[in-house]
Point group: C2
Protein backbone atom coordinates (compact mmCIF):
# COMPACT_ATOMS: atom_id res chain seq x y z
CA UNK A 1 0.00 0.00 0.00
CA UNK A 2 1.32 3.44 -0.87
CA UNK A 3 1.89 6.07 1.80
CA UNK A 4 -0.27 8.47 -0.20
CA UNK A 5 -3.24 6.23 0.61
CA UNK A 6 -2.82 6.95 4.30
CA UNK A 7 -2.33 10.69 4.03
CA UNK A 8 -4.97 12.65 2.13
CA UNK A 9 -2.63 15.64 2.30
CA UNK A 10 0.14 13.77 0.46
CA UNK A 11 -0.01 16.05 -2.59
CA UNK A 12 0.52 19.08 -0.39
CA UNK A 13 3.90 17.79 0.78
CA UNK A 14 7.10 18.76 -1.02
CA UNK A 15 8.99 16.09 -2.92
CA UNK A 16 11.67 16.16 -0.23
CA UNK A 17 9.07 15.53 2.47
CA UNK A 18 7.48 12.71 0.50
CA UNK A 19 10.89 11.10 0.01
CA UNK A 20 11.73 11.49 3.66
CA UNK A 21 8.59 9.59 4.66
CA UNK A 22 8.94 6.95 1.94
CA UNK A 23 12.54 6.17 2.79
CA UNK A 24 12.15 6.07 6.52
CA UNK A 25 9.04 3.85 6.58
CA UNK A 26 9.86 0.29 7.62
CA UNK A 27 7.67 -2.68 6.72
CA UNK A 28 7.03 -5.27 9.44
CA UNK A 29 4.96 -8.38 9.83
CA UNK A 30 3.77 -8.85 13.34
CA UNK A 31 2.62 -12.03 15.07
CA UNK A 32 -0.69 -12.00 16.90
CA UNK A 33 -0.36 -10.85 20.49
CA UNK A 34 2.75 -8.69 19.99
CA UNK A 35 2.86 -5.55 22.13
CA UNK A 36 3.73 -2.76 19.73
CA UNK A 37 3.67 0.01 22.25
CA UNK A 38 3.20 0.63 25.86
CA UNK A 39 4.13 3.47 28.16
CA UNK A 40 7.45 1.90 29.06
CA UNK A 41 8.70 0.71 25.69
CA UNK A 42 10.59 2.93 23.29
CA UNK A 43 8.70 5.40 21.14
CA UNK A 44 8.20 3.34 18.02
CA UNK A 45 6.75 5.94 15.66
CA UNK A 46 3.63 6.26 13.55
CA UNK A 47 2.16 2.86 12.77
CA UNK A 48 0.31 2.57 9.46
CA UNK A 49 -1.82 -0.57 9.38
CA UNK A 50 -1.72 -2.50 6.12
CA UNK A 51 -3.59 -5.60 7.19
CA UNK A 52 -4.76 -7.23 10.39
CA UNK A 53 -6.06 -5.53 13.50
CA UNK A 54 -4.45 -3.59 16.32
CA UNK A 55 -6.05 -2.79 19.65
CA UNK A 56 -5.30 0.28 21.78
CA UNK A 57 -6.21 0.00 25.44
CA UNK A 58 -5.51 1.44 28.85
CA UNK A 59 -4.80 -0.53 32.00
CA UNK A 60 -5.74 0.43 35.56
CA UNK A 61 -3.38 0.19 38.52
CA UNK A 62 -5.12 -3.05 39.47
CA UNK A 63 -4.55 -4.47 36.00
CA UNK A 64 -8.07 -4.00 34.60
CA UNK A 65 -8.19 -3.16 30.91
CA UNK A 66 -10.50 -1.24 28.65
CA UNK A 67 -10.24 -1.07 24.86
CA UNK A 68 -10.17 2.50 23.58
CA UNK A 69 -10.36 1.61 19.91
CA UNK A 70 -9.29 -0.80 17.23
CA UNK A 71 -7.19 -0.02 14.18
CA UNK A 72 -7.79 -1.74 10.88
CA UNK A 73 -6.28 -1.59 7.41
CA UNK A 74 -5.54 2.05 6.36
CA UNK A 75 -5.69 3.32 9.94
CA UNK A 76 -2.88 5.29 11.53
CA UNK A 77 -1.85 4.78 15.14
CA UNK A 78 -0.89 8.12 16.66
CA UNK A 79 -0.15 7.02 20.19
CA UNK A 80 2.68 4.70 19.30
CA UNK A 81 4.44 7.99 18.58
CA UNK A 82 3.33 9.65 21.80
CA UNK A 83 6.87 10.92 22.43
CA UNK A 84 6.17 13.22 19.47
CA UNK A 85 2.99 14.56 21.04
CA UNK A 86 3.41 16.91 23.89
CA UNK A 87 0.67 16.68 26.48
CA UNK A 88 -0.23 13.03 25.99
CA UNK A 89 -0.27 12.16 29.64
CA UNK A 90 -1.89 8.77 29.64
CA UNK A 91 -0.32 5.46 28.91
CA UNK A 92 -1.86 3.54 26.12
CA UNK A 93 -0.90 0.02 25.14
CA UNK A 94 -1.12 -1.11 21.52
CA UNK A 95 -1.13 -4.79 20.67
CA UNK A 96 -1.63 -6.83 17.53
CA UNK A 97 -5.01 -8.45 18.05
CA UNK A 98 -4.52 -10.55 14.94
CA UNK A 99 -1.47 -11.21 12.80
CA UNK A 100 -0.79 -7.87 11.14
CA UNK A 101 1.35 -6.12 8.55
CA UNK A 102 2.31 -2.53 9.25
CA UNK A 103 4.61 0.22 8.10
CA UNK A 104 6.33 2.26 10.76
CA UNK A 105 7.58 5.80 10.29
CA UNK A 106 10.17 6.65 12.94
CA UNK A 107 9.47 9.67 15.17
CA UNK A 108 12.43 11.72 13.92
CA UNK A 109 11.32 11.53 10.27
CA UNK A 110 7.70 12.22 11.05
CA UNK A 111 8.42 15.04 13.43
CA UNK A 112 10.48 16.82 10.77
CA UNK A 113 7.63 16.75 8.27
CA UNK A 114 5.03 17.79 10.83
CA UNK A 115 7.08 20.78 11.92
CA UNK A 116 7.45 21.99 8.35
CA UNK A 117 4.08 21.18 6.85
CA UNK A 118 0.95 22.91 8.10
CA UNK A 119 -1.11 20.53 5.96
CA UNK A 120 0.35 17.48 7.72
CA UNK A 121 0.03 19.07 11.16
CA UNK A 122 -3.61 19.89 10.44
CA UNK A 123 -4.21 16.34 9.28
CA UNK A 124 -2.77 15.04 12.55
CA UNK A 125 -5.21 17.37 14.27
CA UNK A 126 -8.04 15.69 12.44
CA UNK A 127 -6.83 12.25 13.44
CA UNK A 128 -6.47 13.30 17.05
CA UNK A 129 -9.95 14.81 17.02
CA UNK A 130 -11.27 11.49 15.73
CA UNK A 131 -9.60 9.60 18.58
CA UNK A 132 -10.90 12.11 21.07
CA UNK A 133 -14.41 11.58 19.72
CA UNK A 134 -13.97 7.82 20.13
CA UNK A 135 -12.93 8.21 23.75
CA UNK A 136 -15.81 10.56 24.55
CA UNK A 137 -18.22 8.13 22.90
CA UNK A 138 -16.77 5.31 24.96
CA UNK A 139 -17.11 7.32 28.14
CA UNK A 140 -20.74 8.00 27.36
CA UNK A 141 -21.26 4.28 26.85
CA UNK A 142 -19.60 3.43 30.11
CA UNK A 143 -21.44 6.07 32.09
CA UNK A 144 -24.83 5.98 30.62
CA UNK A 145 -25.42 2.69 28.91
CA UNK A 146 -26.32 -0.34 30.86
CA UNK A 147 -24.05 -3.31 30.57
CA UNK A 148 -26.43 -5.44 28.53
CA UNK A 149 -26.38 -2.98 25.65
CA UNK A 150 -22.59 -2.57 25.79
CA UNK A 151 -22.11 -6.31 25.66
CA UNK A 152 -24.61 -6.76 22.82
CA UNK A 153 -22.87 -3.97 20.85
CA UNK A 154 -19.51 -5.61 21.48
CA UNK A 155 -20.67 -9.03 20.21
CA UNK A 156 -22.07 -7.46 17.05
CA UNK A 157 -18.86 -5.47 16.44
CA UNK A 158 -16.78 -8.58 17.00
CA UNK A 159 -18.95 -10.56 14.60
CA UNK A 160 -18.54 -7.85 11.94
CA UNK A 161 -14.75 -7.78 12.42
CA UNK A 162 -14.44 -11.56 12.26
CA UNK A 163 -17.08 -11.85 9.53
CA UNK A 164 -18.61 -14.76 11.36
CA UNK A 165 -21.50 -15.59 13.65
CA UNK A 166 -19.31 -17.90 15.70
CA UNK A 167 -16.98 -15.88 17.90
CA UNK A 168 -13.89 -17.56 19.27
CA UNK A 169 -13.25 -15.30 22.18
CA UNK A 170 -13.00 -16.09 25.88
CA UNK A 171 -15.20 -14.42 28.46
CA UNK A 172 -12.01 -13.21 30.15
CA UNK A 173 -11.05 -11.33 26.96
CA UNK A 174 -14.49 -9.76 26.65
CA UNK A 175 -14.24 -8.60 30.26
CA UNK A 176 -10.89 -6.95 29.43
CA UNK A 177 -12.36 -5.18 26.43
CA UNK A 178 -15.25 -3.82 28.42
CA UNK A 179 -13.35 -3.01 31.59
CA UNK A 180 -15.32 -5.31 33.84
CA UNK A 181 -14.99 -8.64 35.64
CA UNK A 182 -15.38 -12.04 33.97
CA UNK A 183 -18.26 -12.96 36.28
CA UNK A 184 -20.26 -9.97 35.02
CA UNK A 185 -19.75 -11.05 31.43
CA UNK A 186 -20.66 -14.67 32.21
CA UNK A 187 -23.86 -13.69 33.95
CA UNK A 188 -25.00 -11.47 31.09
CA UNK A 189 -24.05 -14.02 28.40
CA UNK A 190 -26.12 -16.64 30.21
CA UNK A 191 -29.00 -14.22 30.25
CA UNK A 192 -28.57 -13.67 26.48
CA UNK A 193 -28.51 -17.44 26.03
CA UNK A 194 -31.70 -17.76 28.03
CA UNK A 195 -33.29 -15.25 25.66
CA UNK A 196 -32.18 -17.31 22.67
CA UNK A 197 -29.90 -14.56 21.37
CA UNK A 198 -26.65 -16.55 21.63
CA UNK A 199 -25.47 -20.11 22.18
CA UNK A 200 -22.50 -20.66 24.49
CA UNK A 201 -20.08 -23.53 24.25
CA UNK A 202 -16.51 -24.06 25.41
CA UNK A 203 -14.48 -21.14 24.02
CA UNK A 204 -17.08 -19.93 21.52
CA UNK A 205 -20.15 -17.76 21.43
CA UNK A 206 -22.55 -18.26 18.57
CA UNK A 207 -24.92 -15.49 17.58
CA UNK A 208 -28.38 -17.00 17.02
CA UNK A 209 -30.62 -13.96 16.95
CA UNK A 210 -28.91 -10.90 15.53
CA UNK A 211 -32.08 -8.76 15.64
CA UNK A 212 -32.46 -9.36 19.35
CA UNK A 213 -28.87 -8.31 19.99
CA UNK A 214 -29.32 -5.23 17.84
CA UNK A 215 -32.39 -4.24 19.80
CA UNK A 216 -30.47 -4.65 23.06
CA UNK A 217 -27.51 -2.68 21.74
CA UNK A 218 -29.66 0.35 20.93
Amino acid sequence: MKLSEYFPVWDQLTEAQQNMLEHSAVYREIPKGTLLHNGELDCLGMILVESGRLRAYIVSEEGKEITIYRLLSRDICLFSASCMMKNIQFEVTVEAETEAAVRIIPPSAFRGVMEESAAMANYMNELMAGRLSDVVWLMEQVMWKSFDSRLAAFLLEESALEESDVLKITQEKIADHLGTAREVVTRMLRYFQGEGAVKLSRGTIEILDRKKLEATAR
Copy 2:
Protein backbone atom coordinates in the same frame (compact mmCIF):
# COMPACT_ATOMS: atom_id res chain seq x y z
CA MET B 1 -3.97 40.20 28.33
CA LYS B 2 -1.99 39.96 25.11
CA LEU B 3 -2.66 37.24 22.58
CA SER B 4 1.02 36.31 22.70
CA GLU B 5 0.43 35.11 26.26
CA TYR B 6 -1.98 32.47 25.02
CA PHE B 7 0.11 31.22 22.13
CA PRO B 8 3.67 30.15 22.90
CA VAL B 9 4.24 29.98 19.14
CA TRP B 10 3.34 33.66 18.68
CA ASP B 11 6.86 34.64 17.58
CA GLN B 12 6.77 32.02 14.84
CA LEU B 13 3.78 33.69 13.18
CA THR B 14 4.26 36.28 10.45
CA GLU B 15 3.33 39.87 11.17
CA ALA B 16 0.34 39.48 8.87
CA GLN B 17 -0.85 36.44 10.84
CA GLN B 18 -0.36 38.22 14.15
CA ASN B 19 -2.34 41.21 12.88
CA MET B 20 -5.08 38.95 11.57
CA LEU B 21 -5.55 37.39 15.01
CA GLU B 22 -5.22 40.70 16.90
CA HIS B 23 -7.78 42.47 14.75
CA SER B 24 -10.33 39.73 14.67
CA ALA B 25 -10.30 38.96 18.41
CA VAL B 26 -13.40 40.32 20.15
CA TYR B 27 -13.50 41.09 23.87
CA ARG B 28 -16.64 40.03 25.77
CA GLU B 29 -17.78 40.03 29.35
CA ILE B 30 -20.04 37.14 30.11
CA PRO B 31 -22.57 36.77 32.93
CA LYS B 32 -22.46 33.64 35.04
CA GLY B 33 -24.53 30.83 33.57
CA THR B 34 -24.25 31.92 29.93
CA LEU B 35 -24.08 29.07 27.42
CA LEU B 36 -21.17 29.94 25.16
CA HIS B 37 -21.39 26.91 23.00
CA ASN B 38 -23.43 23.87 22.46
CA GLY B 39 -23.88 21.46 19.58
CA GLU B 40 -26.79 23.41 18.17
CA LEU B 41 -25.59 26.99 18.49
CA ASP B 42 -23.41 28.70 15.92
CA CYS B 43 -19.71 28.01 15.82
CA LEU B 44 -18.42 30.83 17.95
CA GLY B 45 -14.67 30.45 17.48
CA MET B 46 -11.68 30.02 19.76
CA ILE B 47 -12.41 31.29 23.25
CA LEU B 48 -9.43 32.66 25.17
CA VAL B 49 -10.24 32.96 28.88
CA GLU B 50 -9.03 36.15 30.53
CA SER B 51 -10.74 35.77 33.86
CA GLY B 52 -13.46 33.67 35.44
CA ARG B 53 -14.17 30.03 34.80
CA LEU B 54 -15.76 28.07 31.99
CA ARG B 55 -17.02 24.53 32.16
CA ALA B 56 -17.14 22.07 29.26
CA TYR B 57 -19.53 19.17 29.66
CA ILE B 58 -21.46 16.54 27.77
CA VAL B 59 -25.12 15.66 28.23
CA SER B 60 -26.72 12.24 27.83
CA GLU B 61 -29.96 11.63 25.97
CA GLU B 62 -31.72 11.49 29.32
CA GLY B 63 -30.26 14.86 30.33
CA LYS B 64 -27.54 13.64 32.67
CA GLU B 65 -24.38 15.75 32.62
CA ILE B 66 -20.73 15.12 33.21
CA THR B 67 -18.04 17.80 33.36
CA ILE B 68 -15.15 17.08 31.00
CA TYR B 69 -12.93 19.90 32.15
CA ARG B 70 -12.81 23.46 33.39
CA LEU B 71 -11.09 26.39 31.73
CA LEU B 72 -9.43 29.12 33.76
CA SER B 73 -7.51 32.28 32.99
CA ARG B 74 -5.04 31.74 30.07
CA ASP B 75 -6.83 28.62 28.89
CA ILE B 76 -8.05 28.21 25.34
CA CYS B 77 -11.34 26.52 24.49
CA LEU B 78 -10.97 24.48 21.33
CA PHE B 79 -14.40 22.97 21.12
CA SER B 80 -16.26 26.21 20.81
CA ALA B 81 -14.64 26.20 17.37
CA SER B 82 -15.56 22.61 16.64
CA CYS B 83 -16.78 23.58 13.16
CA MET B 84 -13.07 24.17 12.44
CA MET B 85 -12.11 20.70 13.57
CA LYS B 86 -13.02 17.88 11.30
CA ASN B 87 -13.83 14.67 13.11
CA ILE B 88 -15.14 16.18 16.32
CA GLN B 89 -18.24 14.02 16.50
CA PHE B 90 -19.44 14.67 20.01
CA GLU B 91 -21.44 17.56 21.28
CA VAL B 92 -19.87 19.51 24.03
CA THR B 93 -21.55 22.34 25.90
CA VAL B 94 -19.50 25.23 27.26
CA GLU B 95 -20.94 27.50 29.92
CA ALA B 96 -19.63 30.31 32.07
CA GLU B 97 -19.49 28.79 35.53
CA THR B 98 -18.65 32.19 37.01
CA GLU B 99 -18.78 35.67 35.54
CA ALA B 100 -16.01 35.67 32.96
CA ALA B 101 -14.08 37.85 30.54
CA VAL B 102 -12.98 36.26 27.28
CA ARG B 103 -11.58 37.09 23.89
CA ILE B 104 -13.05 35.29 20.94
CA ILE B 105 -11.25 34.69 17.67
CA PRO B 106 -13.76 33.93 14.91
CA PRO B 107 -13.36 30.61 13.04
CA SER B 108 -12.56 32.20 9.68
CA ALA B 109 -9.60 34.19 11.05
CA PHE B 110 -8.25 31.30 13.07
CA ARG B 111 -8.66 28.75 10.31
CA GLY B 112 -6.64 30.95 7.94
CA VAL B 113 -3.71 31.10 10.34
CA MET B 114 -3.85 27.41 11.15
CA GLU B 115 -3.82 26.43 7.49
CA GLU B 116 -0.74 28.56 6.82
CA SER B 117 1.28 28.06 9.97
CA ALA B 118 2.67 24.63 10.87
CA ALA B 119 3.74 26.05 14.24
CA MET B 120 0.17 27.06 15.09
CA ALA B 121 -1.27 23.79 13.80
CA ASN B 122 1.22 21.86 15.93
CA TYR B 123 0.31 23.95 18.94
CA MET B 124 -3.35 23.10 18.41
CA ASN B 125 -2.26 19.47 18.33
CA GLU B 126 -0.70 19.90 21.74
CA LEU B 127 -3.86 21.47 23.12
CA MET B 128 -6.00 18.70 21.69
CA ALA B 129 -3.67 16.07 23.13
CA GLY B 130 -4.05 17.74 26.52
CA ARG B 131 -7.84 17.58 26.28
CA LEU B 132 -7.68 13.97 25.18
CA SER B 133 -5.54 13.19 28.21
CA ASP B 134 -8.13 14.89 30.43
CA VAL B 135 -10.91 12.79 28.97
CA VAL B 136 -8.96 9.54 29.32
CA TRP B 137 -8.13 10.46 32.92
CA LEU B 138 -11.78 11.13 33.57
CA MET B 139 -12.79 7.84 32.04
CA GLU B 140 -10.33 6.02 34.27
CA GLN B 141 -11.84 7.80 37.26
CA VAL B 142 -15.33 6.85 36.26
CA MET B 143 -14.49 3.25 35.51
CA TRP B 144 -12.05 2.37 38.17
CA LYS B 145 -12.39 4.75 41.07
CA SER B 146 -15.08 4.29 43.60
CA PHE B 147 -17.49 7.15 44.04
CA ASP B 148 -16.19 8.20 47.48
CA SER B 149 -12.79 9.08 46.06
CA ARG B 150 -14.27 10.91 43.07
CA LEU B 151 -16.46 13.00 45.34
CA ALA B 152 -13.61 13.77 47.74
CA ALA B 153 -11.40 14.81 44.81
CA PHE B 154 -14.19 17.02 43.49
CA LEU B 155 -14.69 18.80 46.83
CA LEU B 156 -10.95 19.48 47.09
CA GLU B 157 -10.78 20.78 43.51
CA GLU B 158 -13.79 22.99 44.11
CA SER B 159 -12.25 24.33 47.31
CA ALA B 160 -9.02 25.16 45.44
CA LEU B 161 -10.94 26.92 42.64
CA GLU B 162 -13.06 28.95 45.07
CA GLU B 163 -10.14 29.50 47.45
CA SER B 164 -12.39 28.70 50.34
CA ASP B 165 -13.25 25.87 52.73
CA VAL B 166 -16.92 26.76 52.53
CA LEU B 167 -18.38 25.62 49.23
CA LYS B 168 -21.60 27.18 48.03
CA ILE B 169 -22.73 24.47 45.68
CA THR B 170 -25.90 22.43 45.63
CA GLN B 171 -25.89 18.65 45.75
CA GLU B 172 -27.77 18.71 42.46
CA LYS B 173 -24.89 20.58 40.82
CA ILE B 174 -22.33 18.16 42.20
CA ALA B 175 -24.36 15.28 40.81
CA ASP B 176 -24.29 16.97 37.38
CA HIS B 177 -20.53 17.40 37.52
CA LEU B 178 -19.97 13.78 38.41
CA GLY B 179 -22.58 12.28 36.15
CA THR B 180 -24.65 10.70 38.87
CA ALA B 181 -27.93 11.17 40.76
CA ARG B 182 -28.42 13.67 43.59
CA GLU B 183 -29.37 10.89 46.00
CA VAL B 184 -25.98 9.24 45.49
CA VAL B 185 -24.22 12.52 46.31
CA THR B 186 -26.39 13.13 49.36
CA ARG B 187 -25.72 9.70 50.75
CA MET B 188 -21.97 10.01 50.36
CA LEU B 189 -21.86 13.57 51.75
CA ARG B 190 -23.72 12.36 54.83
CA TYR B 191 -21.19 9.60 55.20
CA PHE B 192 -18.36 12.17 54.94
CA GLN B 193 -20.15 14.26 57.59
CA GLY B 194 -20.41 11.24 59.85
CA GLU B 195 -16.66 10.81 59.49
CA GLY B 196 -16.11 14.45 60.48
CA ALA B 197 -14.63 15.37 57.08
CA VAL B 198 -17.31 17.93 56.13
CA LYS B 199 -20.17 19.84 57.69
CA LEU B 200 -23.39 20.18 55.71
CA SER B 201 -25.84 23.01 56.01
CA ARG B 202 -28.48 24.46 53.71
CA GLY B 203 -26.74 25.23 50.41
CA THR B 204 -23.17 24.93 51.69
CA ILE B 205 -20.59 22.27 52.37
CA GLU B 206 -17.81 23.13 54.76
CA ILE B 207 -14.55 21.19 54.63
CA LEU B 208 -13.52 20.35 58.21
CA ASP B 209 -10.82 17.74 57.69
CA ARG B 210 -8.85 18.28 54.52
CA LYS B 211 -6.39 15.46 55.26
CA LYS B 212 -9.20 12.94 55.52
CA LEU B 213 -10.62 14.04 52.16
CA GLU B 214 -7.17 13.85 50.60
CA ALA B 215 -6.73 10.32 51.87
CA THR B 216 -10.11 9.34 50.42
CA ALA B 217 -9.35 10.99 47.09
CA ARG B 218 -6.17 8.94 46.62
